[in-house]
């Protein structure tokens, strides 16, 4: 058994060198890192025949910041703020994932007020992430207006969260052992106002995109991902649920106070882009329901159970914890050697694993379908690269 380490150059030159057959219609083209619909710096090397995609090789690393390495020299509280910069659209959920892992490992019990507030914020964050995704999907398929409508509604939600958190994107709100600050006195009232504002807007979203025949035809039967393929290629979150597997950590392994909320897990049927679209739109409605249920009875208590400048030490061992972000399962692995810094901190990023579904779902289809399918995966590139 041998191991051969190849490089991208070798891979590509096989088919694009000067010695290729003059009859061949196949050619390679770079899509990204600076392409309008790769949403950041994802680079796909496409092997095309006319407009058909024969191969799609993702090339990563353009925004790699070695968060895992940096974290090895930081205490657990400092690790948290780096996770804001991974999946910046679910920053609070990322914060929560690390905090949850640390709390479970160090045996810190948090009270139910903290858990409830975390849950509410996670769901709000999920909504705003899906709002942006919805707009971006429209923009990728050529409709620019939905993008601005999505951004506009996200702005309203961002304001609500900013009032409590003090930041709009890199929130750093959840810390091991509690929250950075208590909720703002206006918070409950403003969230209620937002729910009242956003429900009619969801119907408007349906008018603009969902019921539009062009969008449906662009997404239907495009990028079909069977349940088996989705599982084997590591998909989680709405991508897996779009394929019909009702796996949701919030339901199957409840954390926070999700077991107190009554909600449903939307799943798709055949796993095409249209299913993934619809699952996300439905998830926005379910998230609104969860927030609505939890909002009225936030239990009293402290917002921080552990003093901030005390050192958190984790007993030696390996710890793994996961939760459901807007894009799938975010796993946090901690290997500890009894210091207050992690010996090794690893994030299982949902986007990293979802990305690999792109090639099996798009092989042999058009470039235009690739855009739609990629949009329905809802990739956030910094999370892939970390």
């Amino acid at each position: 058994m041998t191991v051969e380490v190849s490089s991208l150059k070798e891979l590509v030159e096989q088919a694009s060198g000067d010695d290729r057959s003059p009859d061949t219609q196949e050619y390679f083209v770079n899509m990204g890192p600076q392409h309008p619909s790769t949403h950041g710096v994802l680079r796909l090397v496409l092997k095309l025949d006319g407009e058909r995609v024969l191969r799609c090789i993702p090339v990563l690393g353009y925004i790699h910041r070695s968060i895992e390495k940096i974290s090895e020299h930081m205490n657990y509280m400092n690790c948290v703020h780096l996770t804001d910069r991974m999946d910046y659209l679910s920053s609070i959920m990322n914060n929560w994932a690390v905090s949850k892992a640390v709390e479970e490992a160090a045996g810190i019990e948090v009270n139910s007020r903290i858990q409830t507030i975390r849950t509410i914020f996670a769901e709000l964050e999920r909504i705003q992430s899906h709002q942006l995704w919805w707009g971006v999907l429209g923009m990728d398929l050529g409709a620019f207006t939905p993008f601005l409508y999505g951004i506009r509604d996200r702005e309203v939600l961002n304001d609500v969260m900013e009032e409590t958190v003090g930041a709009r994107l890199t929130m750093n709100y959840v810390l091991p052992g509690g929250l950075m600050a208590d909720i703002h006195p206006n918070f409950v009232h403003r969230v209620k106002e937002f729910i009242k504002y956003f429900r009619p807007k969801l119907d408007e979203y349906d008018d603009l995109l969902t019921n539009n025949v062009i969008i449906q035809e662009r997404l239907r039967n495009v990028g079909i991902l069977s349940a088996q393929t989705a599982v084997q290629y590591g998909a989680t979150g709405p991508v897996l649920r779009g394929s019909g597997v009702a796996f949701d950590l919030r339901k199957d392994h409840p954390y926070g106070v999700y077991d107190q909320a009554d909600f449903e897990v939307p799943v798709g049927t055949i796993g095409d882009s249209w299913d993934r679209y619809w699952v996300r739109v439905e998830e926005m409605r379910q998230s609104l329901n969860i927030v609505e249920q939890l909002l009225d009875n936030i239990p009293p208590g402290d917002f921080l159970v552990k003093k901030l400048n005390s050192k958190i030490k984790i007993p030696e061992g390996r710890y793994y914890s996961q939760l459901e972000t807007a894009r799938g399962v975010l796993g946090v692995f901690i290997a500890s050697d009894k210091k207050d810094e992690p010996y090794r901190l690893h994030y299982r990023s949902p986007n990293f694993n979802n990305l690999w579904c792109l090639e099996p779902m798009i092989k042999g289809d058009y470039i235009a379908s690739l855009i739609g399918a990629m949009s329905s995966l809802d990739l956030v590139i910094p999370d892939i690269d970390r």
Partner: protein
């Protein structure tokens, strides 16, 4: 199945499997490198385990012990349980058979580990750097990695 029961059941599979107790929150086993694909395949196919998804693949550089620990996180949708499978390989010659044929997603997870730790995966179809450039020297997540751009954090 409870955690202990699962751990015991997995250990009964093969003599190459032994329990690992350093894991705090889930069933964990140690597997000998050569037996890894076969074990993971059985874990996937046998209905009482049904570990359908490879959730995650992590490597840890235990530099004091001179070993890399390769950890595979498996999840079973059917029984809703997690399992962590560890493989210890020597730091000097880190080689382990690939899991690509069992779980396709391993191809990229293993590439990530190769990229950052330099673990070689036998029979891997496309072992390339994933994040770093193809001509990068060294494997940054190893504990003894040094380069000119690393900053010392003032403490």
């Amino acid at each position: 199945m409870e955690r202990e029961a699962l751990q015991a059941a997995v250990c009964e599979l093969d003599s190459a499997v032994s329990p690992l107790d350093a894991n705090a929150d889930r069933a964990a086993v140690v597997v000998e490198a050569s037996a890894l694909p076969a074990i993971v395949r059985r874990l996937r196919d046998e209905p009482r385990f049904a570990f359908a998804q490879l959730l995650d693949h992590v490597a840890v550089d235990w530099i004091d012990r001179g070993q890399f620990e390769l950890i595979y996180q498996l999840y079973s949708f059917k029984h809703k349980h997690f399992l962590s499978v560890s493989v210890f390989v020597p730091r000097e010659d880190p080689r382990v058979p690939t899991l690509c044929r069992v779980h396709p997603v391993a191809e990229w997870q293993e590439r990530e580990v190769y990229d950052l730790f330099g673990v070689l995966y036998d029979d891997h179809p496309d072992l390339r750097r994933l994040f770093l450039e193809d001509d990068w020297v060294g494997f940054p997540l190893r504990k003894d990695y040094q380069d000119d751009f690393m900053l010392d954090r003032p403490r």
